[in-house]
Symmetry: C2
Subunit: 237 residues, 2 copies
DNA sequence: AGACAGTTGGACAGGCTTGTCTAATTTGTC
DNA sequence: GACAAATTAGACAAGCCTGTCCAACTGTCT
């Protein structure tokens, strides 16, 4: 999205094209923040321009319209989020060394790089708040994002089950339960669009993976409460 | 909230007071819908008045201000939601006959009466979209709602564990995992503020409770994939 | 130096919304 | 029937925001 010119053709020279691109991006970022904070109706082009360090006219030159700007923001965020989701998905531990630790590490990468970061939180809130008004935008996101994400993750879990690490009937259901458990203790924070603490993320992830392994693990790990370092849950201290 | 006059003092006579109250409520409901659809900034008092079947001036007579109206809406929704949450919480199966079925029934009540119903979805979206702008409102909701809800549910799970039905270290964590699992397959629907199908709710709830019992049950139920009518997961057919 | 593309600040019309005011009207009560 | 309270429709000023237009400015390229 932020390309148009490749870094090879024009190196680092402060050419006018490069500056134009920089402004374009700057506007997109500022617009993301403002739309997210104020909602579509409450967002103010003047504020976007100021926050982007650009004159209002430049915003109109680049994006033409408030609505077009909004659509550009959502499309950009969708693409960036999907890219990082699939990049992270490729690191799924298909051949885990230590199943629990590897799943925890994977879930942490996913949370940090795709869900709790700026793009993830912004997209989440924009879709939720103003998505209804643009059904086409919403279906694009829906099919391209969650749709592919769930089936990809389900495929990984199916592979893990086939290799004998887990036991499950429905890999898609397992994927939903995995994500739900891993984020179980972050829901209230998520809801307000805040960024959870690093410690909160670690704790929720670790606890979620342990519960997931008790539900889907092959050799049932120790139940919580039994004296086993694995079974005790994680408080982050 | 909708009181002010008790049903005893004035029976069912169409007194002017009663009509005034009816209009007051009508405005509150219409405002809830409009604020939720359009967001605070996009909401239009004329639209609220029309949708409430009332003149604009009446809205101002009752609530004085757009901001005051918004606050009244959120306060009302918060109170009503909390009331139904705690009413439902009282039906927690402390002495379950069939643990799985009773937990499923409880979770279904909670979902239907408190989370997926009109008030639940509206409050959820209002808090998420415009909550930031009114920190005091948000903390009231936070302390009075989720705070007390989690500890109440944790207490019930602790009781269940103490009675030998479940095994857990941290009842609060178990409560979070329970809710997360039960709603695992409804997340995408939730995010858009839509009302999930009855079938979707049933399916997600049943599957979630089964996974929960595999993770926290005492006598480990059959793993999924093993030939057992209990272990097979639910597709709603 | 001159052409040129992009940016800037400001002015400005048009539209929409909030909140107020007023006169007319309804509806129950005395 | 007269009175009081509430409601209604409409007009209205004030403010904000969008989107456009324009003249001046900056930097690069020829």
């Amino acid at each position: 999205m932020h390309s148009g010119i490749s870094p090879d053709t024009i190196p680092t020279s402060p050419s006018p094209l490069r500056e134009r691109q920089a402004k374009r991006i700057s506007i997109l970022e500022a617009a993301g923040d403002v739309f997210c904070r104020e909602g579509y109706a409450g967002a103010n082009i003047d504020l976007v321009a100021t926050e982007a360090g650009v004159s209002r006219q430049t915003v109109y030159n680049h994006y033409g319209d408030k609505e077009k700007l909004f659509i550009a923001v959502v499309r950009d965020l969708t693409e960036r989020c999907n890219a990082s989701i699939f990049a992270t998905m490729a690191t799924f531990p298909d051949r885990p060394n230590n199943l629990e630790d590897d799943l925890v590490a994977f879930a942490l990468r996913m949370n940090r790089n795709c869900i709790c970061n700026r793009e993830g939180r912004l997209l989440h809130k924009l879709i939720q708040a103003d998505g209804e008004r643009y059904p086409e935008l919403l279906t694009i996101w829906r099919e391209q994002g969650p749709g592919r994400t769930w089936s990809a993750m389900a495929a990984h879990f199916a592979r893990l089950a086939h290799a004998g690490y887990l036991v499950m009937d429905d890999p898609d259901l397992a994927a939903h339960h995995f994500v739900a458990l891993v984020n179980a203790q972050l829901r209230t924070t998520f809801m307000l669009g805040e960024a959870p603490t690093e410690a909160e993320v670690t704790q929720s992830t670790r606890n979620g993976v342990r519960a997931f392994l008790r539900a889907y693990g092959k050799c049932r790990s120790a139940a919580p409460g039994e004296t086993s370092s694995q079974g005790r849950h994680y408080h982050g201290n």
